[in-house]
Point group: C6
Chain length 256, copies 6
């Protein structure tokens, strides 16, 4: 009956949005054109699925280097979608479970989703959901098979968006999990100019003191590391200590 069905769906709401808000709470700082394009692609796919008459399922993979902001972006997209059912499945939510239990929880979340006319499931750090380790390699085949099956399973009477994140596209490919996704969007790390843009957006007072060091960074700068380096050299009045900024860049591995 309708009332029991409602209850089946409800408990999922609370938990998921609270965790998603944690993931999104750092905010999305605008750093340039690439970010805009990415946000627009995702938004267009989501709205197109909503309007489609024939396609009930869309699976999107956000892939990019460690710390490039995938989780924050996925959480923000989910929260802004306005879908009646949104749910986050992250390694943290499954900590301490055996592989069979993890697989069961995942299958359960998808079953819950099918009960809502419009659902969005975030699968955060897919490779870690299945306990993948490069050496071996090792992973939970039970979770992997469940994920492939759930991501490909066409809902009978409802619409579903799967929004997954990974920092290892190669792993997903070798696991033949990549084939299960309809589309793949790249989340990049930042160049020097984009990093300076971030400093401006954050209202840092002495950007000119920092710029010379930043210019010596030759690798891509993940937004998450950038935020930490800023924090670790922040002084009163939104000013950064240039020496500590440089040192932390080294300690985080961005400068050799």
């Amino acid at each position: 009956d309708f009332e029991r069905a409602q209850k089946d769906v409800l408990p999922a709401f609370g938990a998921s949005t609270e965790d998603m808000e944690m993931c999104a709470r750092g905010g999305i700082v605008e750093y340039g054109e690439k970010l805009k394009q990415l946000q627009q692609s995702a938004a267009s796919l989501i709205s197109q699925l909503q309007q489609s008459e024939r396609t009930p399922l869309l699976s999107i993979l956000l892939e990019g280097p460690v710390g490039s902001g995938k989780t924050a972006l996925a959480a923000t997209l989910a929260l802004r979608s306005g879908f009646p059912f949104v749910k986050l499945l992250a390694p943290t939510s499954l900590v301490g479970m055996g592989e069979t239990q993890k697989a069961a929880v995942i299958a359960r979340v998808f079953d819950d989703a099918y009960k809502s006319p419009l659902s969005l499931i975030v699968l955060d750090e897919v490779e870690r959901l299945l306990e993948y380790v490069r050496i071996g390699p090792r992973f939970s085949n039970v979770v992997l098979q469940t994920l492939i099956t759930c991501i490909k399973k066409v809902p009978k009477k409802s619409k579903l968006i799967v929004l997954a994140t990974t920092s290892s596209l190669a792993t997903l490919e070798s696991l033949e999990l990549l084939d299960a996704f309809n589309v793949t969007l790249h989340v990049p790390s930042l160049g020097t100019i984009e990093a300076i843009k971030v400093l401006k957006e954050l209202g840092i007072g002495n950007i000119s003191d920092i710029e010379p060091v930043l210019r010596t960074v030759t690798k891509g700068i993940p937004i998450k590391k950038l935020m930490l380096v800023i924090e670790m050299s922040l002084e009163k009045g939104a000013v950064l200590d240039p020496e500590r900024f440089e040192k932390t860049l080294q300690e985080t591995g961005l400068l050799d």
Copy 2:
């Protein structure tokens, strides 16, 4: 007794045809000669078995790239066969089961089939039925041994067609599962001309806007991806947004 035997057979009917109809519901769009040949080969084999006096078993493997339409074709062939017993065994039907249980279900379905004079079993995504993963490689040997044995086992008093699909012929060969099949039929992805044929069949209004982009695709186009790209760029009046068409081609990996 007869009545109990009937009951043993009956429950299988309902479930299987409902799932098969889900697999076949997208329809088979005609895209050219290759498709016709394929359909004809399958039909001829099925009817020849029906008439044979000496051969009670035929196992057919449909193999082709991811998304080339194997599942839809197998489901359609099964539904059109008019056999009194048709049954779909797909990864989705076995989700959440351990390998021993999966093997038992498979063996059970074959046992049910032997009770009907004329049966057709679809084994969808064979490599995933046995939880195969390239890295390792890993798979369920219990399920594999059960599949080989069931596919090769000659029914004593009835006739049986096994119709399996795979997107990895090499895997089945390395598992020595390929030897268990009597015949193998290839399901191709589409060339540009066939893709345009599909747009025509679907009544797309502005094919000439889309053609130039389609011509830049150098890979084979799986029908399943083509249908999604169309959906994701579809606008009112069966017109496609060329820009979004191109972008989704990229996001689905068909354009670099």
Copy 3:
């Protein structure tokens, strides 16, 4: 006491001969000298053991390509031996059992055999009895060890012939199971001339229509595939449809 001993032996009879008759029911079509030699060698070994005063055990391995007729030959030899105890152990008889249970059943069959003065055990598809898969490789060491021990174990008061089949001599060698057999006999696939001999034996009406295609086959033709290709192109009046014959040759992998 004698009566219980009788019962222990009896149940094995029924089952085994029924299954063996299934394996042999397709018949042995005479195709030439090689087949005759093979049959004669086997018969001579069997009769020599029967007469020997000092040798109570003989283990014969029939090896040859997939579909070359090993199972049919072994079953026929067993049925013709006239031994009071004949028994077939095939993958089908063990389906659904765990490896320990399989090992137990095998050991049990040998124990039963020792109770009869003259016994013949057929071990069909030895590599699959032990669940061998090339990739890994994987196999049941429990079953393997049981097989080696049983095949080498000299009966104390009775005589025993073990007749095994395999389509992978290399596998048995790498498993050091080959050493357990006293003699090895090769079961070949057919050349074109032998294939035509088969068509004649079967009374096919239009052999001359088929001959040109058969001559283009460069691989060895397993008798089992040949029988299927014939069945799939058979028309009323023992005539073959040449076009369908060619096509099925392709679909079975005999023609490229």
Copy 4:
């Protein structure tokens, strides 16, 4: 309620500080500039986190050769931090537990930490917490997944510092555990001059007798081995027996 919460936190205190004091009891002998820099970096990061408004989590990895003093340094930093919650997780604390139990204890310690506004957890010999062995390689994936998840999990209402030690950076990288740490600090072994500095600091009476041998050492000298070699050649009056000093240098593998 508050009282129960207090009790949940309290038992952890006692145990942890006692063990930490064991690890730190040998003291930190000053041997030069590198050590000072290292101590300063760690202190700066700890105090910056304490003051930060936006960053609630910081994970620091101390890596360096076997015996270079990592554990003593981590324990000293923890004890000096003055944080209300400090806790040591070392292989010794987990001896005799199965991998699931180890993972549970680790998760539990982190949960305890979240209850205190300011916490510091020392993870000593990370590669051994997860039972890593180079050959195989083998390790507990359950513990590994728990560690990655716990080290990356952002506390909701509190601040946490994770201070880990390892003597195999390469292992942590291959396990993709390195990515989980925000910053990495190197703990070096000593050169000859630094080793002599240590002898001075310890008030050894006959340094000039020892110096010639020490100068023949070409490898880096881990402080832990140096302390042992001194102990094993120590005579009354803080004098070292040069012959025994040289011999023990050989027996510890520092001299060839």
Copy 5:
């Protein structure tokens, strides 16, 4: 008490000698100098141990190609030793047991042996006692560790000879089991001249008919295969059918 101790020892007697007699019942045909040397070496070692005052343990490994007569020799030596405790441990005696149970039985037999002042244990086909298979490779480490420990364990108050056989010295070396044996004796296969000597010893009537074929054999001839080939071509009056002799040489793999 003495009576219970007696019982503990007794049951082992019966079983072991009956099985040993089965192994030795084919007899030892004299084929030349090599065999004599071998028998003499073994006898000398056994008697030396009996007389020694300081050495309570001696472990002898008989190694040689498949079928070279190792088991028959070991059984004969054991039966002739006249030791109050002799016991055979062969794969057949352990069939159907799990690896832990096998290890327990082995340890038990050694414990029984320590209760007798003078014991001899035959370990037949050592590599198969531990379920060794070359591919993998696989083996039971539980059994292996038990074997190494038992073979090296010095009895406190009694004397013990361990007489083991293997057809794969390389395997025992790679398992570091070879180091556990004090001495190793080689059991060879036969050359043509030795084979003819065997025919003479057996009183074959038409040796001159057989000689030409025997001379074409270039491999070493294991005595066990030779005995079978003779049996399979034996006719009334101790005469061999030369044609069948040659054919069986081929079927047993001695002639190509």
Copy 6:
């Protein structure tokens, strides 16, 4: 209380010394300078630890070829130490236990040791305590982790010497177990001159008869093998049979 503590310690005494005396009962024959140096090094380390105020733990590894006398030396050192707690942990003491049980026993012995002010634990054949086999390689990681942790764990209120033996330094290194030891001492096999010294020490009457053969040995001679070869060729009146001496040298693998 004191009495219970006493009991906890006591039972360990009996067992351990009895087993140690078995290991040492063959005696230590003086064969030259190398042996003296080795004994002196070990004695010096043991006495230095006894006197040290700051170092409560010392772990010594005796490594050398198979049969070089490691166990006898370790047992002798332990018995001569006069420590109130001495204990032998050897593969024989752990036979028949599962790996978890072995780990528990080891941990227990160390816990017992901490209760005595001065303890010495012999870990005999370390690689076999952890069931190491080169092929695979296989070993018990549970035992390995327990060993590393126990060997490195600093006692809180007592002093402990760990004296381990191994015949495979490379294995311990690859298991990263070598790092857990503070010092490593080499136990050599003998050269010809040292072997003759042994014959003299044992009062062999006809050394000149034996010398020529001994001089042809080019490998190092492990004392354990030398003792056996002597025993196997010993005749009344402490005279050796030169022929049998040579033969046994071959059969033990010392002469090719």
